[in-house]
């Protein structure tokens, strides 16, 4: 079994008629995802690509199609409301791709989602893909992924593709790949995903890709030490980033010694993770870790 998305995932896409939403929904369907509904207020009644019904509200979509997972593509100013609308309609897993959501909105939304018992991934994330269950709820290029037994969790999109692009040719397939997003406040952190991979029978090892800024990697290291028995292979990027400057991602800024790549690597090393020395070595380090199981 994969985590978050499965064969029984019934995906609803919020913002399905927009430029990004429509392009990526089509790619998700191509990959094998069961996209059951779309939502764009004011466009209810249309059919997306002549097969997916579009609704005005998430509640209508859920009532009609029993959607259980939502993928959010709406613009940043409306993303918070879209997530809350999905949760209120009974959606259990909300994946928010939108980049540029204000931090104060993210704080309120995360609090709301946690209280409701649903799960938020993102914002500002590439989404989730499970090559073993052939489900893609995100914007990643599906063809680089292959089914297998390694779980991947990352704060970055393209760097995940890079990691998988190194794993697949070595014959190392993936169970589920989760992008938690590059924002300082996000619905799911490394700790949440590591916990699920630890329990997941389809996953033997975990590749974790972190970066400068914040302390999510240190929290992950603490968690790994006491709660994760599977091997964790970890890469931290931004070793060469100057302090005080935002490196693209809103959360990628060195604001203190804990935010440095070196102190994150140190914590993970102490927790027993396999450290990937350079981004060029993700595949080979994983191979080495797997040979020790």
């Amino acid at each position: 079994m994969s985590i978050f998305v499965r064969k029984d995932t019934r995906l609803l896409v919020q913002g399905i008629t927009g430029k990004e939403g429509s392009y990526h929904t089509a790619r998700c369907i191509d990959y094998g995802t069961n996209v059951v509904a779309g939502v764009t207020p004011g466009k209810g009644g249309q059919l997306f690509e002549e097969k997916v019904p579009v609704y005005d509200t998430v509640k209508q979509g859920v009532d009609e199609t029993n959607a259980n997972t939502s993928l959010v593509f709406v613009p940043p100013a409306f993303a918070a409301e879209a997530i809350i609308e999905a949760v209120d309609a009974g959606i259990q897993i909300v994946i928010c791709i939108t980049e540029g959501v204000p931090v104060s909105d993210a704080i309120k939304v995360c609090e709301y989602v946690n209280r409701s018992g649903a799960r938020l991934i993102g914002p500002n994330c590439p989404g989730i893909i499970s090559p073993i269950d052939k489900v893609k709820a995100g914007i990643m290029p599906g063809h680089v992924y292959a089914p297998g037994r390694v779980g991947v969790v990352s704060r970055s999109g393209t760097l995940t593709y890079e990691a998988v692009g190194q794993l697949t040719p070595l014959g190392i397939g993936q169970s589920t790949c989760v992008g938690i997003g590059g924002d300082p406040v996000s619905g799911s952190d490394f700790v949440d995903v590591l916990g699920l991979f630890e329990k997941d029978e389809a996953t033997d090892a975990i590749v974790m890709i972190g970066e400068i800024g914040g302390t999510k990697e240190q929290e992950a290291a603490e968690f790994i030490q006491s709660n994760v028995s599977k091997p964790v292979i970890s890469l931290i990027v931004g070793q060469t980033a100057p302090p005080g400057r935002r490196m693209g991602h809103a959360g990628a800024i060195i604001t203190g010694t804990a935010a440095l790549a070196s102190s994150k690597v140190k914590s993970l090393e102490k927790a027993g993770a396999f450290i990937v020395p350079s981004p060029a070595d993700i595949g080979t380090t994983t191979m080495e870790a797997l040979s020790q199981i």
């Binding site: 990004e20 392009y23 990526h24 940043p76 100013a77 540029g100 959501v101 204000p102 931090v103 104060s104 993210a106 704080i107 309120k108 995360c110 609090e111 914007i139 990643m140 290029p141 680089v144 704060r155 970055s156 999109g157 393209t158 760097l159 995940t160 593709y161 890079e162 692009g165 300082p184 406040v185 996000s186 952190d189 970066e211 800024g213 914040g214 302390t215 999510k216 929290e219 890469l235 990027v237 931004g238 070793q239 060469t240 980033a241 100057p242 302090p243 400057r245 935002r246 490196m247 693209g248 991602h249 809103a250 959360g251 990628a252 203190g256 010694t257 020395p277 350079s278 981004p279 060029a280």
Partner: protein, 385 residues
């Protein structure tokens, strides 16, 4: 978005936080006029987007008007270099002239987002005026924290906890609570990502005042924060970075000679790390973004090459949303429109339409070095001189 000290103080003052009397000056005649109004007893402070000013001569206490003008002339004459700037420093265009105050106690106060908790927190310490990170490392027990529930906001009792924890005499509690609630409202109402008052002081007249203040507005919330007083001082940034921002590119200038053009922030950082590990040095961080078109890639190449320090270029693209053929067309268009010599370009393309992209580059005959992986890329980069 960083604000200057005077902008941060104007914001705090609007929400009821007491700040010293003062005015901004950009000319010596203004400095003279303002210093006169304080009868020469004043502090002259450079207004720059970098910490560590005090230790670099950016804050001076003077006793008379002529000294204020002399100090100001010196400060306005060039860049200031602090531990937080590059070796070139940042330009000094404005000075804040404030009344000199007699201080009896210095404290630390800040409001920020704790990513791990996913909440806003208030931090306070009796170790005011010092580098707070050093305090956190050396004596963490000196840092007090209150975590804020997003649905409730800061409660007066939390402010009272801090006031008592700071060891303030009871006569200051109500002043402190009012000040902190004001600063917290400013933080929430204007979508700040940071407000830092260091030091927060008690004067000999028994008044609590924000003697220094830093504030940053969440870049992602600027669409709903259009207050005039937040005019961003783009002179604090390099022209090349301003140009990049205007083109919607995420770019940070660095000191090396290998220009980088990458899609995605994580991959861009990884690319810098790989270059460094190979013994070369990156000239910049550049994320063209997922939604780039040919025109945007063209602009990115132009901006990259406008840095005269760039001697070679590494383009590293993992096509996802962004297609490799689009990047290739952008590179071809940019190099063909150049009138001057183009430094050698090493290109690695994977993912969506990588083959098409490589074909376009090959057929354009612009002398691009195509490589397959990081190892080959760094080898090629190092072989080019």
């Amino acid at each position: 978005m960083k604000l200057h000290e005077y902008q941060a103080k104007a914001l705090l003052s609007k929400y009821g936080v007491p700040v010293p009397r003062g005015e901004v000056a950009s000319s010596l005649s203004e400095v003279r006029r303002i210093a006169k109004s304080f009868e020469g007893n004043c502090v002259v402070k450079v207004q720059v987007h970098a910490g560590g000013r005090g230790k670099s001569g950016g804050v001076k206490l003077v006793k008379d008007v002529d000294s204020a003008v002399a100090v100001a002339e010196q400060m306005l004459s060039g860049n200031i270099v602090t531990i937080q700037t590059t070796a070139e420093g940042v330009p000094v265009n404005e000075l804040l002239i404030e009344e000199a105050l007699d201080v009896t106690k210095e404290l630390y106060l800040s409001i920020l987002v704790d990513g791990g908790l996913g909440r806003v927190i208030v931090m306070a310490s009796e170790a005011g005026g010092m580098d707070i990170e050093k305090v956190a490392e050396d004596s963490p027990d000196k840092i007090l924290k209150e975590v804020i529930d997003p649905n409730i906001g800061l409660m007066a009792y939390q402010a009272r906890n801090l006031s008592i924890g700071l060891g303030l005499d009871r006569e200051f509690h109500s002043q402190f609570i009012k000040l902190l609630l004001g600063a917290f409202n400013a933080f929430i109402q204007t979508d700040c990502s940071l407000i830092e008052i260091n030091p927060l002081v008690i004067t000999s007249q028994g008044q609590l005042l924000a003697i220094d203040a830093k504030a940053s507005i969440d870049d992602d919330a600027l669409f709903r924060q259009k207050d005039e007083s937040f005019n961003y001082d783009s002179r604090q940034e390099l022209e090349i970075e301003n140009l990049a921002r205007a083109s919607g590119l995420s770019y940070v200038k660095l000191d090396g000679d290998v220009g980088c053009l990458v899609n995605g922030a994580g991959l861009a950082m990884a690319t810098m790390d790989v270059i460094m590990a190979a013994g070369a040095t990156p000239a910049n961080f550049l994320d063209v973004g997922g939604g780039a078109d040919v025109n945007k890639v063209h602009k990115a190449v132009d901006i990259l090459l406008s840095d005269s320090g760039v001697k070679k270029v590494f383009v590293n693209i993992f096509g996802g949303i962004l297609r490799c053929d689009v990047v290739a067309e952008g590179i071809v268009a940019a190099t063909k429109s150049r009138k001057t010599h183009t430094p050698p370009i090493v290109v690695r393309m994977l993912g969506t339409n990588a083959d098409e992209g490589r074909k376009i580059l090959k057929e354009a005959k612009i002398g691009v070095h195509l490589v397959n992986d990081f190892t080959e890329a760094t080898k090629t980069i190092k072989s080019l001189s």
